[in-house]
C-alpha cells in the first residue's frame, strides 16, 4: 500500500499544485503546507481527492495542516482510516 499511496499523492501534488515546468522535486518529506506548495485552502482538494479515491472519510479535526505537511505525514494519517 505504502509505495502506491505515496506515488498517488506525489502525482496529484505535482499535477495540481506545481507548474508544469517546475524543476522542484517532491519526496515523502518535502514540506507541502509550510513551504506554500499547498495552502490550507488548497489542502481541501487534496483531502477530497484522497477521500474519494480511497473511499474513506477523514474527520475535520484530524485534517490539520501538520497532518498534511508532508506525504509521510499524510500516509500516517491515512493508515488510521484505510482497512487493509
Amino acid at each position: 500500500m505504502g509505495e502506491d499511496l505515496k506515488q498517488l499523492i506525489i502525482n496529484y501534488v505535482k499535477r495540481e499544485y506545481l507548474e508544469e515546468d517546475a524543476d522542484q522535486e517532491i519526496t515523502e518529506n518535502t514540506p507541502l503546507i509550510s513551504s506554500g506548495i499547498v495552502d490550507s485552502f488548497s489542502m481541501v482538494s487534496l483531502k477530497t481527492f484522497l477521500e474519494k479515491k480511497l473511499q474513506i472519510k477523514i474527520p475535520d479535526e484530524k485534517a490539520t495542516t501538520d497532518a498534511f505537511d508532508t506525504i509521510n505525514n499524510i500516509i500516517n494519517l491515512l493508515k488510521e482510516f484505510i482497512k487493509e
Partner: protein, 566 residues
C-alpha cells in the same frame, strides 16, 4: 500603561493633528510614506535599529536595520526610474513574503509610483483581471511565480516591465529584467518623489457582489491614521518585537505589516510560512514576539491543536494580542485567555477604510464577541436599511456606517467612480456590514449586507467565482454562496447544473474545484460542490443566490415570491 490611556478621554479630545505632530508630517513639504517608514527613522538616530527580522520556511533568518531598508528601498526606486517607469504608474508586487516584498513597497512609493500588491496565490484569471484593470506598467516577482505572468503577457500590452528579484543564474525570457537588491551598488541618497497629501500611493483590490474586483485607491496621507492606530491599538513601543501574520497581498499586510510598524520605528518579524501551529509557536519563542496581530481563522486553527501544544513553548514574551479579518467569536477570545494568559482583541476595518475603525483597546474592558468601539476621530453608527438614518435604539441591527473624512479613507475605486459614489448615503460611508450597538457603545457584528463571501478574513465575490465556473467545459450554470465553517467563518459552496452529456462524479467535482483554484485562488475554490438539475431563479431569470445561501445557513427566507420578482 498603554499608549492610548483612557479611551473615553482620547475619544473626547481627539484630533488627527495629534498624529501629524508626532510624525512631523509635512515637515519640509515631505508627505511620502516611503520617507516616513525609512529615512525619517534614520534621521531620528535609529538607523541601526532592526526594522525587519525575516525567517523563511526552511529556518533561514535575515535581519535588516532601518538603514538597510532605507538604502535597499532607494535601490529599488533608482532601478525603477532607470528602467523607465514613471511616477504614478502602477507597479505590482507579486511574490511570497520575502524581504524584497516589504522593501520594494517602500521603493515604489519613494519613486512616486502606485504600489499594487497582489496575493501570490492568485491564479491567472485573478491576476489578469487586476493587472488589466489597473493598466499596470511593471511587476516585481520571483522565479516561482513568473510562469503565470508569462502566460498573460500577450493580453497585457501595458505591462512592459517584468522584473525578477531572485533570477540568480536562471535565464529569463524575452525582455524580462533581473534585479537582485543584494548585488547592486548601495544607493545612499534618492531624490524622493514630492508627493502631496492626496497623491495616490497604494491600490488594493477587493471583491463585491457583482462585477469584477474593484481597486480601492489610497493616498500618501493614509499614513497619519495607520501610524496612530498602530500606536494606540497595537500599542507598539520601541522595545517590542511585532508579528503581523497577514500577507501584504491584502490590506492588513501593508497598513499594519509595513506602514504602521515602520512609521513607528518598530522591529517587526515576518515568517514566510503557511499555517503550522508548532512552527508558529517556535517562531514566537525564538524571536520573543511581544505583540501579535493575527486572524480569527488562524486562532481557531490554533484552538484545534489544543492548549497542550502551547504549553510546550515559552510564549511569555507575548504581551498584547489583536485580531482582524472577520468577527472574533467569544470562544476564541476565552480560549486565548486560557492558552496565552491574555485575550485577543478584535479589530474591525476593511480595504476601503485603510486603517482600523472599530476595535477593542488595550486596557479597555473586553466583551468577548464584540467588535469594540470606534477609534478616536472615527464617527461610526448603524443606519436603518431603508431610510439610511442612524438607529438610536441600543441592540437594533443596522448598516455599519462611518462619517467620511478620516485620513486613510480610500479616495475612489480605480476606474469605477459610479460604484464608489454608490457607497455613500446621507453623507455616510456604508461599509457593507451589519451590526448592532449596545447601551455601552460596543458594536456587535451580525454579518455582511450583500452576497460577498468572507472566507478566512478575505472577501471573495460570488460573481467572479461563477464567471470562472462557467468557463469550465462541463458547467451550464452555477451559483456560489458562503456556507458556515467552524474555522474559516465561511467557505465557498458552488451549486452547479451540468451541460448535457456530463454526469456528476467525484472526478468531475475535484476537477472543477482545482479549475477554480488555479484560475482565481485557493480562497475562491469551492470547498463543496452540489450538483443540481437546475438553479432557483427569479421571474427575470436571475439566480436566487440568497435563497441558496439561506438554505446553507439554516435561515428562514420567508416568502420567496418577492425574490422571484427581483
Amino acid at each position: 500603561m498603554s499608549h492610548i490611556g483612557s479611551y473615553d478621554e482620547r475619544y473626547k479630545n481627539f484630533n488627527w493633528t495629534i498624529a501629524e505632530k508626532e510624525l512631523d508630517y509635512g515637515n519640509n513639504s515631505i508627505y511620502n510614506i516611503g520617507y516616513y517608514c525609512s529615512d525619517r527613522i534614520c534621521e531620528k538616530g535609529l538607523g541601526n535599529r532592526r526594522a525587519l527580522i525575516w525567517q523563511g520556511f526552511t529556518g533561514e533568518v535575515r535581519t535588516f536595520t532601518y538603514n538597510d531598508i532605507r538604502i535597499y528601498s532607494n535601490c529599488f526606486a533608482t532601478f525603477l526610474k532607470e528602467v523607465g517607469v514613471r511616477a504614478q504608474e502602477r507597479v505590482c508586487i507579486f511574490m511570497d513574503r520575502i524581504p524584497e516584498l516589504y522593501i520594494s513597497f517602500l521603493g515604489i512609493l519613494k519613486m512616486g509610483c502606485i504600489a499594487q500588491p497582489l496575493f501570490s496565490a492568485f491564479g491567472e484569471e485573478a491576476l489578469l483581471t487586476r493587472l488589466d484593470d489597473a493598466k499596470t506598467r511593471a511587476i516585481l516577482t520571483t522565479k516561482k511565480h513568473i510562469h503565470k505572468i508569462r502566460r498573460l503577457r500577450a493580453q497585457l500590452p501595458e505591462l512592459t516591465k517584468v522584473i525578477v528579484v531572485d533570477a540568480g543564474d536562471k535565464p529569463l525570457e524575452n525582455d524580462e529584467i533581473a534585479f537582485d537588491m543584494d548585488n547592486v551598488p548601495n544607493v545612499d541618497h534618492f531624490d524622493i518623489f514630492k508627493a502631496n497629501r492626496d497623491v495616490p500611493s497604494v491600490l488594493h483590490y477587493t471583491s463585491g457582489t457583482t462585477g469584477k474586483p474593484k481597486g480601492a485607491l489610497h493616498v500618501h496621507s493614509s499614513i497619519i491614521a495607520q501610524y496612530i492606530t498602530t500606536k494606540w491599538v497595537l500599542d507598539l513601543t520601541a522595545d517590542d518585537i511585532y508579528w503581523c501574520t497577514a500577507d501584504p497581498g491584502w490590506v492588513t499586510g501593508t497598513s499594519y505589516g509595513i506602514i504602521g510598524p515602520w512609521s513607528n520605528g518598530i522591529t517587526q518579524a515576518v515568517y514566510d510560512i503557511g499555517f503550522n501551529a508548532q512552527k508558529w509557536y517556535a517562531f514566537i519563542e525564538k524571536h520573543k514576539i511581544t505583540v501579535w496581530y493575527s486572524a480569527p481563522t488562524a486562532i481557531r486553527l490554533l484552538m484545534k491543536e489544543g492548549t497542550e501544544l502551547v504549553q510546550k513553548f515559552d510564549l511569555s514574551s507575548l504581551r498584547h494580542l489583536i485580531s482582524v479579518g472577520e468577527p472574533l467569536n467569544a470562544e476564541a477570545v476565552l480560549w486565548s485567555e486560557q492558552a496565552f494568559g491574555k485575550p485577543f482583541h478584535d479589530s474591525y476595518w476593511q480595504t476601503e477604510t485603510g486603517s482600523i475603525v472599530i476595535t477593542n483597546y488595550p486596557g479597555m474592558k473586553i466583551k468577548p464577541g464584540s467588535m469594540g468601539k470606534p477609534f478616536p476621530g472615527i464617527i461610526a453608527t448603524v443606519l436603518d436599511q431603508q431610510t439610511f438614518e442612524p438607529i438610536r435604539k441600543p441592540g437594533s441591527v443596522g448598516l455599519i456606517a462611518l462619517k467620511p473624512g478620516w485620513p486613510s479613507m480610500f479616495r475612489t475605486y480605480w476606474n469605477n467612480k459610479e460604484i464608489y459614489d454608490s457607497k455613500f448615503k446621507n453623507d455616510w460611508y456604508i461599509c457593507g456590514d451589519r451590526s448592532s450597538i449596545d447601551d455601552e457603545g460596543y458594536f456587535w457584528f451580525v454579518g455582511r449586507d450583500d452576497d460577498v463571501i468572507n472566507t478566512a478574513g478575505h472577501l471573495v465575490g460570488p460573481f467572479e467565482i461563477e464567471s470562472a465556473l462557467l468557463e469550465h467545459e462541463a458547467v451550464a450554470e452555477s451559483a456560489a454562496v458562503g456556507k458556515p465553517d467552524p474555522i474559516n467563518l465561511e467557505v465557498v459552496k458552488a451549486f452547479i447544473a451540468l451541460k448535457p452529456g456530463y454526469e456528476p462524479s467525484d472526478d468531475l467535482m475535484i476537477n472543477i474545484m482545482n479549475f477554480v483554484r488555479k484560475k482565481l485562488s485557493p480562497l475562491a475554490m469551492p470547498q463543496e460542490i452540489e450538483f443540481v438539475d437546475s438553479l432557483p431563479k427569479t421571474r427575470s431569470g436571475k439566480i436566487m443566490r440568497r435563497l441558496l445561501r439561506a438554505q446553507e445557513w439554516g435561515e428562514d427566507i420567508g416568502d420567496t415570491s418577492t425574490l422571484e420578482n427581483d
